[in-house]
């Protein structure tokens, strides 16, 4: 039951983050601060799905490291290209 509650909290957090991303991108389109906010929100959502829904938290450190490094690399490249 406790595990299901954690999943529920993560789900609410991810949906709220998505709504916040949308709202800020509509209000402050192409702003640098919003860009960083959206990248951060996307990172949190990716980690939330990978570690909680996909249960990566129980996996070997290699798979955890791979998943985090690859998304950080992606976000870094996108940031360099967009700013």
């Amino acid at each position: 039951m406790k595990k299901n509650n954690i999943l529920l909290i993560i789900w609410i957090l991810l949906v709220v983050l998505t709504a916040v991303e949308y709202t800020f991108s509509e209000v402050f389109r192409y702003s640098k601060i919003v860009f960083f906010g959206i990248m951060l929100a996307s990172f949190i959502k990716y980690i939330g799905v990978a570690f909680q829904f996909l249960e990566l938290k129980h996996a070997h450190p290699f798979w955890k490291a791979f998943s985090v490094i690859i998304v950080l690399l992606f976000i870094t490249i996108i940031t360099v290209l967009y700013l």
Binding site: E21, W63, I70
Partner: protein
């Protein structure tokens, strides 16, 4: 009969190592596509920003929420089957399938809207990237729905239980892969 695996073992991540090799390759492929788009955008900002006005960020946002909800339902379904609540697990997987169908319906509407406006793959490079990347993702979600449907039928036929749920975990991993990809695709095309 299959017992719960030790996921701390390198060879047994949740869903098994084979699905994780697929997940790794798929993530690298989609990220490569999105980076290629970002390189294009860097040199053609005006075209990209003009083209983005033809996309509905609201539809993209709703679809993101739908996929995340599907991911949550699948995660709960896997928890349920692990503790022997197979009927509840089947119900959760069925709900996840419905969210997948909702995603496809909304995406289909978005595609229809573009086609009606005469926007296709050859309209400009932005839309070539858009159709290719979101189109491949659409195919992934379709395949994931079929996998979940097979799992749902399997559970209903007592093929899976708390002692034998490896396939369910593997199918769930593919389902979550669709979430992970979309979480990266969504801001690149719709928000930034």
């Amino acid at each position: 009969m299959e017992k719960q695996m030790d996921h701390k073992n390198f060879y047994y991540p949740p869903g098994g190592i084979l699905i994780w090799i697929i997940i790794a390759l798929e993530l690298i492929t989609f990220m490569g596509g999105l980076v290629a788009f970002a390189v294009y955008r860097n040199n053609n900002i005006a075209v990209v920003q003009e083209s983005q006005h033809h996309l509905s960020a609201l539809i993209g946002t709703i679809n993101t929420a739908i996929l995340i909800t599907g991911g949550y339902l699948m995660a709960v379904g896997i928890k349920k089957i692990k503790i022997g609540l197979t009927e509840d697990a089947a119900k959760m997987i069925l709900y996840a399938i419905i969210t997948g169908l909702m995603f496809l319906a909304l995406k289909g509407y978005e595609y229809y809207d573009k086609i009606i406006d005469g926007i296709g793959m050859s309209t400009n490079t932005f839309f070539s990237f858009y159709w290719l990347i979101t189109g491949f993702h659409f195919i992934h979600v379709t395949v994931a729905i079929l996998i979940l449907l097979a799992l749902y039928i399997g559970i209903k036929r007592n093929k899976y239980s708390k002692d034998d749920f490896f396939d369910v975990e593997t199918g769930g991993a593919f389902w979550h892969l669709c979430d992970l990809i979309w979480i990266l695709v969504f801001p690149i095309f719709y928000l930034l």
